[in-house]
């Protein structure tokens, strides 16, 4: 008889299942968490900190911390918000340590590669422009805008990821939109 075992893909395994597997000692199952959330977390940290190396440190430290404290994730169905909260805290610590005088040319977004196509170069320039405008607004507003409009979170998810109340977050998002629009006008 020919029998075959069906191995579920990453997409078919829910977050609570992944968490349960890791908690019983399946270290490799944490790779599913990374494949699922690491790109978004890295994007979020990069936009928050404006520096890819600092963002990589914040995300790596945050994810290792998440792995070590996975048992304290009270609601594994909300793993995403929990991970963003940990990485968000790492970003806040980094921003608190870094004074304004530490900002240097090294912090500028990377220039587009010469081998990139014209469209990619244009996209990179547009991204650099928006990133520059984003860095002129306060970290709280920046965080609110990114979680809402870049990471696509609902206000409920944002409240879980930041520990703030929904009305506070709504106000921050509204102010972030206005501040970003103003900054974009000033950096045409």
């Amino acid at each position: 008889m020919n029998s075959s075992r069906v191995i579920p893909t990453d997409r078919e395994v829910s977050d609570p299942e992944v968490v349960a597997r890791v908690l019983v000692g399946d270290v490799e199952a944490f790779g599913i968490v990374l494949r699922r959330y690491e790109p978004g977390l890295l994007r979020y940290a990069t936009r928050m900190l404006g520096h890819p190396d600092a963002a990589a440190d914040a995300v790596a430290e945050g994810l290792v911390r998440a792995y070590r404290h996975l048992a304290s994730c009270r609601d594994p169905a909300r793993l995403k918000s929990w991970l963003y909260r940990i990485v968000g805290n790492r970003c806040r610590s980094h921003l608190a340590r870094r004074s304004a005088s530490d900002i240097s040319l090294d912090d500028a977004p990377p220039l587009p590669d010469m081998s990139d196509t014209e469209a990619e170069t244009e996209r990179a320039e547009q991204m650099a422009l928006v990133q520059r405008a984003l860095e002129t607004i306060s970290p709280e507003k920046r965080e609110a805008f990114l979680l809402k409009h870049v990471e696509g979170m609902s206000y409920e998810e944002m409240a879980e990821a930041t520990g703030e109340r929904i009305p506070t977050l709504k106000m921050r998002v509204h102010r972030a939109r206005a501040a970003l629009l103003q900054a974009l006008k000033e950096y045409p």
Binding site: L42, V64, L181, Q182
Partner: protein, 201 residues
Amino acid sequence: MKHIDPQVHRVLDGELPAEVLTASQREQLAALTRAAEALSALPRASVAARVMTEVRRPPESAGRRVARWLTERHAVTISVRPIWSLALAVVLAAVAVIPGRGPGPILGDQEGIAQFVGRFPGARSVDVVGSFTDWQSGAVVLRDDEHDGIWRGTVVLPVGQHEYMFVVDGERWVTDPLAGRYVDDGFGRQNALLFVRPIVR
């Protein structure tokens, strides 16, 4: 700050369709949507390998953790009231001008010793510049030998009054908060004042 009509916020929050907006409101909506799209590009880098290497490492035994804790440096933060900071500054200033009994620099009649201490956690370098260096950096370089963010340095200076500032990481000029006496530098900041007294032999 640029004003955004509440209708635009409601559209962005998914409460209303974009069709309800006027032409100028749609421009605001388009600008914010374009900004969000530009920021949505995913970075090419990944830290997955770094994270997996760390999580695959076997957990440290309790004994090893204790041994590591006992042999590692630990940062200790002490919060003090400003009055105690000033008292500390007075003590340090007194120590700075008291002649040492052990081996040390041979001082002339019109020379004294000044000790500089500053707390700059995370700094890569700290210099002292002042009237005694013609405000040029590099002559009085402080050291953080304990890696605890406390930068120290001792220098022989001519007797008399000197103005100085700390220069952190070669670019950030910081007034010594523990100096006790200050003078305007003419550029909107304050230089710290230092009085060097002759050694009583």
